[in-house]
């Protein structure tokens, strides 16, 4: 007794599951490229290097939050000694005012949900 039918069916299901990203991509038709971010500011510098910001912005924001809320420490010395206010709404959002086209694009792409907006008011979009 071989049960060939059952084994092949099981194997096909397994292979389809393992290779499902391919089928999903074909079905949705998306290329899945990294999102284009829209910069609405003229400024060329951020509070830190882009590389650092890409990977560690969440740590920075967390630090800022704790400094401000728990230690009343509102000054941040950024690149080239420039001083910023530790504020999501007033510092970050002043350049990146377009949450939809800046924050959300990457977060959605990487499947990361953030809880910034549990407390902060979502900004009205600047067109």
């Amino acid at each position: 007794m071989y049960d060939a039918g059952k084994i092949i069916a099981g194997l096909v299901i397994f292979l389809v599951l393992v290779t499902s990203p391919m089928w999903y991509k074909a079905a949705t038709g998306t290329k899945g490229e990294a999102p284009e971010l829209k910069y609405v500011t003229e400024s060329k510098v951020c509070v830190a290097e882009t590389e650092y910001m890409k990977a560690f912005h969440m740590d920075l924001l967390n630090e800022w939050r704790d400094d401000v809320v728990r230690r009343d420490d509102r000054q941040y010395e950024g690149l080239e000694g420039k001083v910023y206010e530790k504020s999501l709404s007033r510092t970050c959002m002043s350049c990146h005012s377009n949450k939809d086209e800046f924050c959300d694009r990457c977060h959605d792409y990487a499947g990361v949900s953030v809880y910034c907006w549990d407390c902060h008011v979502e900004p009205a979009e600047v067109q």
Binding site: M1, Y2, D3, A4, I7, I8, G10, L11, F14, L15, V18, T19, P21, M22, Y24, K25, T28, T30, K31, G32, E33, A34, P35, E51, K54, A55, F56, M58, D59, L61, N62, C106, D108, Y109, A110, G111, V112, S113, Y115
Partner: protein, 331 residues
Amino acid sequence: MNALLALFGVAILFVIAYLGVDVLGLHSLFGIVLPYAAIFLFLIGFVVRIFQWAKSPVPFRITTTSGQQKSLNFIKSNNLESPHNTTGVIGRMALEILFFRSLFRNTKAEVKENERIVYGPDKWLWAAALAFHWSFLIVFLRHYRFFAEPVPEFILKMQAVDGLFQVGTPIVFLTGLILLASVTFLFLRRVVLPQVRYISLLADYFALFVIMAIAISGLLMRHFYKVDIVGVKELAMTLVGFKPVVPEGIGFIFYVHLFFVCVLFAYFPFSKLMHLGGVFLSPTRNLANTNRIKRHINPWNYEVKTHTYEEYEDEFRDVMREAGLPLEKES
């Protein structure tokens, strides 16, 4: 000794990744070639192994019954432990595969003074194995977010539950910690329990260390040496689309993580890890106890030399006649 050798092997793998990526800068090799090679080996190896198994028939119905058979109406049968139909088999297999039914039975025997043996329940192996496999599965599925755009809703829901406590930035996923803890436990019991240490082969430690390395590099990457996650997904998506491009600037730790995953995939079909497929095919579990209800066919059943009644009577005719036993032939 086996454990040290395996650890040494995994350390060498780490050095290879370090030299390849950090020193020689072979990003395409580690980001593209090896992942393709690994998944190729995995798929082909897996299919070949299953075919090897499938080619051998199951000549006899050798169910291990762990409960009451279905016989008389007034005796309650146990369809999950001694299945008498397909539903029962599916139930039994589901319990086995999803909840490790047989391991749950585990006991520990001890020989005491005064010629006494005692059996205590021993659920540690079951609990650790269950935690390990389930958390690994969820961790594996969570990675789907790098391979699908848009990210499917159920993956997001799963992440939300997994990160329920909202500790850390980014949020710590419980399954990541459980995976590392359980794989560590499984390693420790291998070295601490004398019986298990005695039977452990190098391959047993190697698999554990590779998985441990994957878990550790993953956790480090998520929480300490963070990398450009968008770049990671970009790479993954181009791999899926067969137009691979390695984005600039993904951190080294990512390549370490990926390399160990590749090792695991490539190693999988050639190792005991194939129990993933084997558990479905184990004849003592996946056959119903319907031996006397339905004839099981053995494809290689062949004629054998028997001692027929005629031969028997020919040899013993005289004594049979004397004993008054009926005969087929009088002489």
